[in-house]
């Protein structure tokens, strides 16, 4: 369980997050949505202790993120950031195997190699395994980064806009892989999405943020309503239900 309690955050004097309280149960896919600048990335980076907490507290499985040794936490939670740059002259396989670092401090056992191979296969990277990261396309690189987060093998997975650069096919594949990880392996996935229809199709729960606050929190059918969309994104769009799931026709 991820427990976020009364978390506020500011850059100098500018408030970024205001008194966020949110509990995410173990197992399942939670989508974090909201307009640009809502504070989604900031919240995720606080949960993953990439930035120091200023106010409030955050626990993952009872471990306070600001007081737990980094190594221990890295075996519980993995994060994919929105803007990851990777040093050159590293192969895809090397990058993905960095995901195993928290477990063996760089020494890869046979089991680690198997996990890396599985992550490569899962994201269709087996053919690219020997390529240098800087020679990949944007979407291929994104898949390699997701595979690295997967290879970390943690119960909690925080993904900040992992669908960036992915084509339709791989976007759906990734969402399905996350769904499967939640359903079959009991993983907890918190994912920032801009494609709200992906959230509707694959997430159990949608949390909508705006201006550093949580505006709405519920099942997709509660969040994807014309009124709610207007409140959160400031846009009116028709919502249709297909196969029992709401979809927003925001292109119209």
């Amino acid at each position: 369980m991820i427990r976020i309690e009364n978390v506020s955050f500011r850059h100098r004097t500018v408030p970024i997050l205001s008194d966020i309280t949110l509990t995410i149960d173990k197992g399942g896919v939670v989508a974090l949505v909201g307009p640009n600048g809502a504070g989604k990335s900031t919240l995720l980076s606080l949960v993953a202790r990439l930035q120091p907490l200023q106010m409030g507290n955050i626990q993952i499985d009872g471990l306070p993120v600001d007081a737990t040794p980094g190594r221990q936490l890295a075996r519980v939670v993995a994060i994919l950031r929105q803007d990851t740059t990777v040093a050159s002259r590293l192969t895809v396989r090397e990058l993905v195997s960095f995901g195993r670092f928290p477990h063996g401090r760089g020494r890869l056992s046979a089991a680690d190699h198997a996990i890396v191979d599985a992550a490569l296969a899962r994201f269709d990277l087996a053919d690219l395994a020997g390529r240098f990261i800087e020679t990949l396309s944007g979407g291929q690189r994104q898949r390699a980064l997701v595979a690295m987060a997967f290879a970390q093998g943690t119960d909690y997975l925080l993904l900040d806009e992992p669908l960036n650069n992915l084509d339709m096919y791989y976007a759906r594949e990734l969402m399905r892989a996350l769904r499967a990880a939640a359903d079959e392996n009991g993983k907890t996935v918190v994912i920032v999405l801009h494609d709200i229809n992906q959230a509707s199709a694959h997430a159990d729960r949608i949390v909508a943020m705006k201006g550093g606050r949580i505006l709405a929190d519920g099942a997709p059918c509660d969040i994807l309503t014309p009124d709610m969309l207007e409140v959160v994104f400031g846009l009116r769009a028709p919502v249709e239900t297909i196969g029992g799931k709401p979809f927003v026709l925001h292109q119209l």
Binding site: S45, Q72, A78, R81, A87, F101
Partner: protein
């Protein structure tokens, strides 16, 4: 492939060492050999120290153009040395045991360097800013050095190291034993940190996500770099671009940024260039003192090339 190239590099390093020892051996062979062995040990140390410190520094800063000397660390070392002369007076300084003196200088550099650079490395700054800071630091330390040099007694000044660029022909063999301890220790620590270095190269956020304590790791690595810079500066004087040359060469030779390969490759390249170059200049091109200038010339070219190519991290 990387492994075979590493072996080839090792062979090249070995060959240059043998050539350095054996070419033109005549007269009192035992005596000449002993002299050459001492010098070889010093050159190897300098090569290894500069290579390793540069690779680590580049990894920590996420930047292939920066080196400890571009950031003014060797100037800082000379400043620390001058500060000691200033505080102790020439007589006091000279009467100190050279090993003790060197140990204190190493520690002074470690403290000064981490005090200055750590705040900058908490978050990675972009290259332009780091370069600028490096230039400013370099000028600052050099000016402070000359200021102190002017303040002290001219007689005292003579005891401080006055070389303004490296002289690979006149190495300080009196510091050799102590420097060797520092170099070997630092090399072992760097080797043990090779996996952490791989992760550190991903940057503070990704490294933290993988469970690396960024502040602690960077502090440790920076102390290591300072110790190595102190060794090489003490033995031969400041070098500007040698580290850059060696790191860039090594990375292209083994075609990887994994430190398990890169660190040994850089160390071996450093030895080959330095020892091989010195052999060439001693026996081939006449002037034994020219190596430093030539290395700096090519290193400077590499620096410009990397800068022009806009080689980011």
């Amino acid at each position: 492939m990387a492994d075979r190239r590493l072996l080839a590099l090792a062979a090249a390093a070995l060959l240059s060492a043998l050539a350095f020892l054996l070419i033109g051996l005549k007269g009192n062979i035992a005596f000449v050999l002993e002299l050459r062995l001492l010098k070889l040990a010093a050159l190897m140390q300098v090569g290894v120290a500069i290579a390793i410190s540069t690779v680590i520094f580049q990894t920590v800063t996420g930047n292939r153009i920066l080196t400890p000397s571009v950031m003014g660390l060797d100037a800082l070392y000379l400043f620390g040395q001058m500060l000691m002369v200033f505080l102790l007076g020439g007589v006091g300084y000279v009467s100190l045991d050279p090993q003790v003196k060197f140990a204190v200088e190493v520690m002074v550099l470690m403290v000064l360097a981490s005090g200055l650079l750590l705040p900058m490395l908490k978050r990675r700054l972009d290259m332009g800013l780091m370069l600028l800071a490096g230039v400013v630091f370099g000028v600052l330390f050099r000016s402070l050095y000359s200021l102190l040099a002017r303040l002290i007694d001219p007689n005292d000044f003579a005891v401080a190291q006055t070389a303004s660029f490296a002289n690979f022909n006149a190495v300080r063999t009196d510091l050799l034993a102590f420097a060797a301890v520092v170099t070997v220790l630092a090399a072992v620590l760097a080797w043990r940190a090779r996996h952490v270095l791989d992760v550190v190269s991903l940057g503070p956020e990704a490294a933290t996500g993988l469970g690396v304590n960024w502040a602690a790791s960077v502090t440790g690595l920076l102390l290591l770099v300072s110790a190595l810079v102190a060794v090489s500066t003490a033995l031969v004087g400041p070098v500007a671009f040698f580290g850059l040359l060696v790191a860039a060469l090594a990375e292209r030779l083994v075609v990887t940024r994994r430190h398990a390969r890169l660190l040994p490759a850089a160390a071996l390249t450093g030895i080959t260039v330095l020892v091989g170059g010195q052999t060439l200049f001693q026996h081939g091109f006449g002037s034994a003192t020219a190596l430093g200038v030539v290395i700096e010339f090519f290193g400077g070219l590499v620096f410009l090339l990397l800068l022009v190519l806009g080689s980011r991290s």
